[in-house]
Symmetry: C2
Subunit: 266 residues, 2 copies
Amino acid sequence: MRWIRFSAAGKTAYGILEGERITEVNGGPFNGYERTGRVHLLGAVKFELPVIPPTFYCAGKNYAAHVIKSAQSRGVKPDIPQKPDIGYRANNALVAHNEPVVIPRDASEKIVYEGELVVVIGKKAKHLSESEALSCVLGYTIGNDISERTWQHSDRTFWRGKNTDTFKPMGPWIETNVDLEAMETIVRLNGVEQTRFPTNAMVFGIATYISTMTRYLTLYPGDVIWMGTDGTSPNLKAGDVVEVEITGIGTLRNPFVAEGAIDSRD
Amino acid sequence: MRWIRFSAAGKTAYGILEGERITEVNGGPFNGYERTGRVHLLGAVKFELPVIPPTFYCAGKNYAAHVIKSAQSRGVKPDIPQKPDIGYRANNALVAHNEPVVIPRDASEKIVYEGELVVVIGKKAKHLSESEALSCVLGYTIGNDISERTWQHSDRTFWRGKNTDTFKPMGPWIETNVDLEAMETIVRLNGVEQTRFPTNAMVFGIATYISTMTRYLTLYPGDVIWMGTDGTSPNLKAGDVVEVEITGIGTLRNPFVAEGAIDSRD
């Protein structure tokens, strides 16, 4: 089942996507819903963020090859995590499928993508064992964790390097029925494949993260957990288009523009 | 003007607090309001979080003496920030005035408080100069940034050390009319004063933070910025009560309990 959040005729709603047809619902995936008689064509709506999370979690360094390559590129020793310490990103940075990533005027050329599986929590959860952990998951969407690497390394926190406005595309929808072991993550730049990796080949898997996290924290409906990335990215520039496909979910596509080149969201 | 969020008779609402009387409103401070005829006594309501932030910002290391003492206690060189890099905390950890802070079973004895001024954003803001910065502020509340110091230093992120459930008391209300230069922050443990410092003696002030942040990110109504702390804390244990007073705002009070000692929120 595919949950899409969209706008049409000035109204934002959840809908169930079947093929190219969206059946609008009252309510949504987190608080109950009923189908309405309103049907929209996928090509005629504006994509909205599939969810605005109460807390936006992010598992950094969760694919061994990515950690090793990233360390090599900086001439430091690879630091593969020994335990699943979860991190955070910020809601201000989220943008939906098709929305532009705006490169700040003073950014360096080191703007890069990271294609990530996003876990969407459906039920309040605390103290879940690994075998119970996936019971709180509603479904999965796709994230593109954009970074400005010079800020990422120069600042005390990831505020500019990772959480500048528009640096966190997420979407296009939530797929509730996936085969994690069969999934591949593929990233294309201007239509040309750059990166491909098995989505579930993580250092710490989804169940391990959720079980560990919920020893100390409560997960709430709508919380998202971005699961990290593999591979490396070329430097991105205004005019580029990045697509992150995860097989079984879909494709998240976002163009890159220079700050000032378009009316920004403010 | 004091904005309080509260529950009474099974309903949560915003109200305007005058003395001990709450005038319930329809709407609230972020989206317009009208006063109702319903009045509640402060002593008869349950305090709720004054706001649930879209993004929960936190300025670490923002008082020089705190940075120096903290470094000395760990035998390392003080690292006073050279620029206002904002950090993050997580909504799962928020609890209201009077709600218990629950100490996890496997926490060490190094549980400590940090009394902090909290800035509450009232208006969407981007690209504000320092002189314009405070125009987006609705008002101020109080935060107690509880840490488990062994986890804070052993984990890759602050997830357990700072963001365990109940580790972020915030309240009791939002005061819109303050004199920043006159304010003092006072922390009491079981009624005995432990810490007192001038609230506005920050390394980087509120206007500097907001101006710097909004070069790259949009602040939204309801976002909060915790401004850091001065002084040090003794180790806290179950049975303790911590009060953070900021003159001109009020007092945030929270008891500490051991995990399993009460029905927790889950």
